[in-house]
């Protein structure tokens, strides 16, 4: 039976301050060709230098992916011609990748599986090229931007696993703070190699390049598996090719047939010094790694937070960072509910991130505590949210008289009487022993009081009145 084998190559743009082999600022969102040094554009006589911050970021990635670290490294030149490659070669690491033989865990249908990672290495990005009307427009801002390339061993067995891998990898890298890993923006690029075989020998593989989204990773691989299956079953031999995924037709399309072994003429880069990583340095970086998503996830599970909330919080690093600040200080599930519910709703309404809002951890804690201690009702809580997100303080808001809960029994008594008068059926239900009638009546009373009735007092009064009816 034909079984698929998949390998994935990911290129990740690092968000260091400077480019990897030159001192230019690492950014290319400005106007074209305005962020270039003489080194980036390969003027004659220029030489590369290595950026320490990039090295450290790459090391973090390699450690987070459980790799062995190559302690004595050099760089290599990968020689080929392409208009977007200014030097006519790319500086990369062929023989001594910073990390090798690592892994990342994914959860496939309840089972934990390790996806083995063959290598993590540092290299530089090419120019950005735009193709239009038989011409190519070159923007050198991106030349020299730092990349790490992460290559799995051919151990992925389905499109589902592939998607889980990419999601897991992306999350890991996001939490390391070394990249914003946005596939749609190109700071994370995925290529997949797919082959089919009915025995232990790997079949001929095809490459799907530059897959534009995580969803498309799954779709393109699934399509490719089926396409190859069809061909093989019809006796047609698979040819090594490079393909791309077309969003509209949802098919992989041939880009070019792979030239027999691209001759990259690799040789050690003579212009860069060696890099020696001491055990001390590696351990220091390791111990300073930020807490990674799987660890956080475990903590939340143990705290009893529901899966939906966990997923929502972790998938948004800014939200997670915020939640981590307040986690120990309030009832976690309650805080999670409010955060993933009303807070996110308000952020989306205003198209801002939590960082951009004026909400502080302190005020959020105050809000939750007020709710916990019944100083405010949930309706009132909802009303307070936009206000504290614009920077107002909980205590001040509550002390404003219009926010006080009604605890006066006489006042409440009137409201309760009104509600009871309007809901004779509920009274009958209560008498018939149906508890949900109480809940319903509570709700109506809260509604009538515009959320200001103190639930505790109401509860006591309501039961007493019902009993007397």
């Amino acid at each position: 039976m034909l079984k698929p084998t998949i390998g994935i190559e990911v290129h990740v743009e690092l968000n260091s301050k400077n480019k990897v082999f030159s001192n230019s600022i690492n950014s290319f969102k400005e106007a074209p060709n305005t962020n270039i040094s003489e080194i980036d554009i390969a003027y004659p006589g220029t030489l590369p230098t290595l950026n320490k911050e990039v090295l450290e970021m790459a090391l973090k990635a390699a450690l987070a992916l459980n790799c062995n670290i190559n302690k004595h490294m050099h760089f290599d030149r990968k020689n080929y011609f392409y208009p977007d490659l200014p030097k006519g070669y790319q500086i990369t690491q062929k023989n001594t990748p910073i990390g090798y033989d690592g892994y990342i865990e994914i959860n496939v249908q309840g089972e934990t599986k390790r996806i083995e990672i063959e290598r993590v290495h540092i290299e530089e990005d090419t120019c950005k090229s735009i193709h239009y009307n038989k011409e190519t427009f070159l923007n050198y801002n991106r030349a020299g931007v730092p990349l790490i390339e992460i290559v799995t061993k051919p151990v992925i067995k389905s499109s589902e696993e592939a998607v889980l891998y990419i999601e897991s990898l992306r999350e890991q890298l996001l939490y390391l703070n070394i990249s914003d890993v946005k596939i749609e923006e190109g700071s994370m690029r995925c290529d997949a190699n797919v082959s089919l075989s009915d025995n232990d020998i790997l079949g001929t593989k095809t490459e799907i390049k530059n897959i534009g989204s995580i969803t498309n990773v799954g779709l393109s691989i699934e399509y490719e598996i089926n396409r190859q299956k069809d061909l093989i079953e019809n006796g047609i031999k698979i040819v090594e090719e490079t393909r791309k995924f077309d969003d509209k037709s949802r098919q992989t399309i041939l880009m070019r047939t792979k030239e027999t072994g691209n001759d990259y003429r690799y040789f050690p880069e003579p212009d860069l010094a060696f890099v020696d990583l001491t055990d001390e340095y590696i351990n220091k970086v390791k111990s300073n790694l930020p807490v990674l998503p799987n660890t956080i996830r475990q903590k939340y599970i143990e705290a009893g937070i529901n899966n939906h909330n966990i997923k929502t919080i972790i998938s948004n690093k800014d939200i997670c960072d915020f939640y981590e600040i307040i986690f120990d200080k309030v009832a976690p599930e309650l805080a999670a509910n409010i955060l993933t519910g009303d807070i996110i709703k308000e952020l989306n309404k205003n198209h801002i991130s939590i960082k951009e809002s004026k909400l502080t951890g302190e005020e959020f804690i105050n809000l939750i505590k007020a709710l916990e201690n019944n100083k405010i009702s949930s309706k009132q809580c909802k009303d307070l949210i936009p206000l504290i997100m614009s920077g107002e303080k909980v205590e001040k808001l509550i002390s404003n008289s219009s926010f006080q809960l009604i605890t006066d029994k006489t006042e409440l008594s009137d409201i309760i009487d009104k509600v009871l008068a309007n809901n004779p059926v509920s009274i009958e239900d209560y008498k018939a022993g149906k508890d949900r009638a109480v809940k319903y009546l509570m709700g109506q009373i809260m509604k009538e009081s515009q959320g200001k009735a103190d639930p505790k007092t109401v509860s006591v009064e309501l039961i007493s009145k019902l009993k007397s009816l």
Partner: protein
């Protein structure tokens, strides 16, 4: 013994991104073979050394100083062969 045949010459010219016509290929064929015969001595010499020497510099852990150099767009475009005022322009070959 001939190291390169005519096809090899074209192949190597392609790697080096050089255009060769029939006459050039003929001329270079002989010259390249002469040089490569000399280079054969590298393959045949018996040596014990297993380590490579990339250069005599054994510099380690050199990191750049973080200061930036910068060139203006106008200066870059002024030196390029073809531009459209913002980009450097070339004719396409691939459409990826």
């Amino acid at each position: 013994m001939e190291m390169l045949n005519k096809n090899d010459v074209y192949h190597v010219a392609n790697l080096a991104k050089l255009a060769l016509d029939e006459e050039d290929a003929e001329k270079y064929h002989g010259q390249l073979n002469d040089i490569l015969t000399e280079i054969e001595k590298i393959e045949t010499v018996d040596i014990k050394e297993q380590d490579i020497m990339i250069s005599s510099s054994n510099n380690t852990n050199r990191f750049s100083n973080g200061s930036t150099t910068h060139i203006s767009k106008d200066e870059v475009l002024a030196r390029a062969s073809r531009t459209n005022g913002d980009f450097i322009v070339v004719s396409s070959v691939f459409n990826d």
